[in-house]
């Protein structure tokens, strides 16, 4: 080692620290490539773990586009209590959206039966994002017509009459609705107009509750206690399929993450082992000058650990950036940095670095310093 002499304040561990620092600084190239390996590995591990934790939440918001996962229905033809929606919304406390629906069978001007539904147009747009609507009603006396219903009652979009229990309502067609299911045969009215006309209260509340399966179960229980006397049930079609798809995706992601982290760790192992092995002359000189085994081991371990620690911190920053980019590129949503990933990445990096130092150390310990110094 060719160190330029320089005056320096040396404390109790001054020499140890100085050797550590100079060893890194003097042979920057090798130290840098070792550090780079750790940084890349830590970054990849951080990005993968962060994605693994966050992706489930991101996918769940995608799955909510399938609509309601809980329905509240009144028992046997009775309407729900008047304050049911308010109670459901209180129980939800912002963890989802609840939309009331009221139905009657009315008749068209030629006397054929038609299902008319009343709902909250503002929230139903968010709940049932798959509804293809040409124009939403926004004035009083406007209705949303299912595509099949429109062909029957208002083929040219002209105003039409509906009657229910002798009371006739004159309506304008605001737009048509296409879903490919039962909705196509219905006429949808704003709930206020609907109740004023029929006097019928909502009989169903559909809820899209956010969160994991466990969280949705908790919400389900809270809603059940909030609306006694109503039947609250999960939409199994939605919940089971979601659980299945999410479970498979998670497992695949986990397998991929494990493979990638393993590869990255091997990369670190290879680079760091070579780095320590490369410095066998330092090792030999220290030993020849009378340093104890413990001191030398401590020295190399400290060096490896600090490379691991610095690399982990830098890598964490880069990995968070990579995860955020993936989040934006794929989900159009930001992936929040998870601090909970840091300890495992930090400790993991240090462990791998120490392991990489320990392997060549065990090899070198058996060798006489003279042999190494002679260059064999």
């Amino acid at each position: 080692m060719s160190t330029t002499p320089r005056t320096r304040r040396s404390g109790k561990h001054g020499m140890f620290l100085r050797m550590l620092l100079r060893a890194t600084l003097v042979r920057r190239g090798r130290a840098l490539s070792a550090l780079l390996a750790v940084v890349v590995a830590a970054a990849v591990a951080t990005a993968m773990l962060n994605l693994y934790v966050d992706v489930q939440a991101k996918l769940r918001t995608e799955f909510r586009k399938y609509g309601a996962n809980i329905v509240v229905v009144a028992k046997q033809g009775q309407p729900l209590p008047a304050d049911a929606l308010l109670r459901v919304q209180t129980a939800l406390a912002g963890r989802g959206i609840a939309v009331p629906f009221a139905y009657v069978v009315a008749s068209t001007s030629d006397g054929s039966p038609i299902v008319v539904a009343g709902t909250d147009m503002q929230t139903v747009r968010r709940l049932d994002s798959w509804w293809a609507v040409s124009a939403w009603p926004n004035a009083a006396g406007e209705a949303l017509l299912g595509s099949r219903a429109a062909a029957t009652v208002s083929p040219q979009g002209q105003p039409f009459d509906l009657s229910f229990q002798g009371r006739t309502l004159h309506l304008n067609a605001a737009g048509t609705l296409t879903t490919g299911a039962a909705e196509d045969s219905r006429v949808y009215l704003p709930l206020k107009d609907f109740t004023a006309w029929t006097g019928v209260q909502p009989s169903t509340i559909e809820i899209a509750a956010n969160g994991s399966a466990a969280q949705v179960t908790v919400i389900l229980q809270q809603v059940t206690t909030a609306v006694p006397g109503a039947e609250v049930r999960p939409v199994r079609q939605i919940m089971e399929a979601e659980g299945r798809v999410l479970g498979k995706t998670r497992s695949t992601l986990l397998a991929a993450a494990a493979l990638i982290i393993l590869t990255a760790a091997l990369c670190v192992l290879a680079t760091l082992t070579a780095w320590v092995l490369d410095r066998r002359r330092d090792f030999a000189i220290m030993k020849a000058l009378g340093a104890s085994e413990r001191l030398i081991s401590g020295f190399f371990a400290a060096e490896a650990a600090s490379i691991g620690a610095i690399g982990a911190l830098l890598g964490y920053g880069i990995g968070i950036g990579a995860a955020a980019w993936i989040g934006r590129a794929n989900f159009q949503a930001s992936i929040s940095p998870r601090l909970s990933v840091l300890p495992s990445v930090f400790l993991g990096s240090i462990m791998v670095a120490l392991l990489s130092a320990a392997l060549p150390m065990a090899l070198l310990r058996r060798v006489q310093p003279a042999t190494i110094l002679r260059g064999e």
């Binding site: 994605l51 299902v115 299911a181 169903t204 089971e240 992601l253 397998a255 991929a256 990638i260 290879a270």
Partner: protein, 421 residues
């Protein structure tokens, strides 16, 4: 001489060569497995998304409006139009027959349960459970067990040719019936093989084989609607265009892509008097979910490739850096730079080919294991990938060695021989 140099290097430095070879093999294995998983994940997830149920609905064209609230049909059962059960089979004769995972015809009718004063009118739905059918000498099994996988039965599913029935859970509780009991439907005793739980309107209904419902209605061969579950491609701008306004070339591209719209179009043409419509709740949402998962796996595969490249080049750089002395010796004996470099490059290529072959097959095994344990189905590695992977492995090993070889050659042989690194 050249050959001997390379050969001896492998023979004498078995441990070091083994380490570098393992690194290459591992890197290639991870890359192969990830590429295989990423190219297959779309199909696998698409298959899983079918558990959301049917994405196409076939109804009679001349039908009157549905009068249905909360899954309960309020329309008089004899009202409106019907499809013919025999026509429905044609689904399996269309261009997209291999994309059709399954279909289930439905025929809701009113039936009287019990006798005398206790008799009550309930809805009975006739359908296929797992019916064995054949079209064009091709036999297949279809029914609600395929299209509606969330239907759970405690007890046993009835046979499609039997006259046994399933009772919805709430209805069974109300009537106090258990699997194995018998129940009187329209005056005929039927065996209840199981209790059905769906979380939907079926919980309050009776579900029976299709022919039972047809007998009750008195219309053999009639079907009210058919739910079809098809594997589709996520929608894009082309999918949503109206086929009537397309140019012939575009129409061909549109009708050869398994969009839900083009499958609906083909089904509509092959079924007389039927209208086929995508169920938007399922059809339009599954596309976005599928795209997200595929995109995610693609990005992760890129990350895996990057990690493998780094691991391989790190291992190669290390292996060559350790052999500075040899390079020094060769140069001191008068070898030209190009000779030295070619020896090392030849070694690198040899390592890459051997590691690549082992890695490719290891990766294939890994992919198969992932497919088996996660998706319960095969993920196979395309043989086409083999030369590609081998080429990439050689290139990466080459590139990983190049920097180290160049650096080692710039080294003054005197220092190398003195071992004064």
């Amino acid at each position: 001489m050249f050959g001997r140099l390379v050969f001896e290097s492998f023979r004498r430095q078995r441990r070091r060569k083994l380490l570098a070879g393992i690194a290459v093999a591992l890197g290639v294995a991870v890359a192969t497995a990830m590429i295989a998983v990423a190219t297959n994940i779309g199909d696998k997830i698409n298959q899983e998304l079918r558990s959301y149920g049917a994405n196409l609905l076939i109804t009679p064209q001349a039908d009157t409006l549905d009068v249905e609230i909360g899954g309960v049909d309020l329309k008089p059962p004899s009202d409106g139009a019907f499809l013919r059960e025999a026509d429905v089979l044609r689904i399996k004769g269309t261009f997209w027959k291999n994309n059709i995972v399954g279909f289930a015809p439905m025929l809701p009718v009113r039936a009287n349960l019990g006798t005398g004063a206790q008799s009550q009118s309930v809805e009975l739905v006739g359908t296929y459970f797992a019916k064995q059918l054949a079209y064009d000498h091709e036999s297949f099994i279809t029914g609600v067990r395929t299209t509606n996988p969330w239907w759970k039965v405690s007890g046993a599913w009835p046979g499609d040719d039997s006259s046994d029935v399933l009772l919805g859970q709430t209805l069974a509780e109300k009537l106090g019936r258990k699997p194995g009991d018998s129940i009187e439907i329209n005056g005929q005793a039927r065996r209840v093989t199981g209790i059905l739980t769906t979380g939907g309107a079926e919980d309050g209904q009776v579900v029976a084989p299709l022919h039972v419902a047809q007998e009750i209605l008195g219309r053999p061969g009639a079907v009210r609607r058919v739910y079809v579950s098809a594997l589709t491609k996520p929608q894009d701008a082309l999918a949503l265009r109206d086929p009537k306004t397309m140019s012939p070339a575009m129409l061909e591209r549109w009708s050869c892509s398994p969009y839900v719209q083009s499958i609906a179009y083909v089904l509509q043409q092959s079924l007389p008097h039927a209208r086929v419509e995508p169920i938007r709740q399922v059809a339009s949402t599954e596309g976005t979910v599928l795209e997200r998962i595929k995109g995610l796996m693609l990005l992760i595969t890129v990350a895996a490739l990057l990690a493998s490249v780094l691991a391989v080049s790190a291992a190669m750089a290390t292996a060559i850096f350790e052999r500075r002395n040899e390079i020094g010796l060769m140069k001191a004996l008068g070898a030209a730079n190009i000779t030295v470099a070619s020896v090392f490059f030849a070694e690198a290529v040899l390592l890459a080919v051997m590691g690549g072959i082992i890695g490719f097959f290891g990766g294939g095994l890994l992919a198969r294991e992932i497919g088996r344990s996660i998706f319960n189905s095969q993920i196979s590695v395309e043989p086409v990938l083999f030369p590609v992977i081998l080429g990439i492995a050689t290139l990466v090993t080459f590139a990983g060695s190049a920097a180290a070889i160049l650096r080692a050659m710039r080294f003054d042989p005197v220092y190398a021989l003195k071992a004064d690194a």
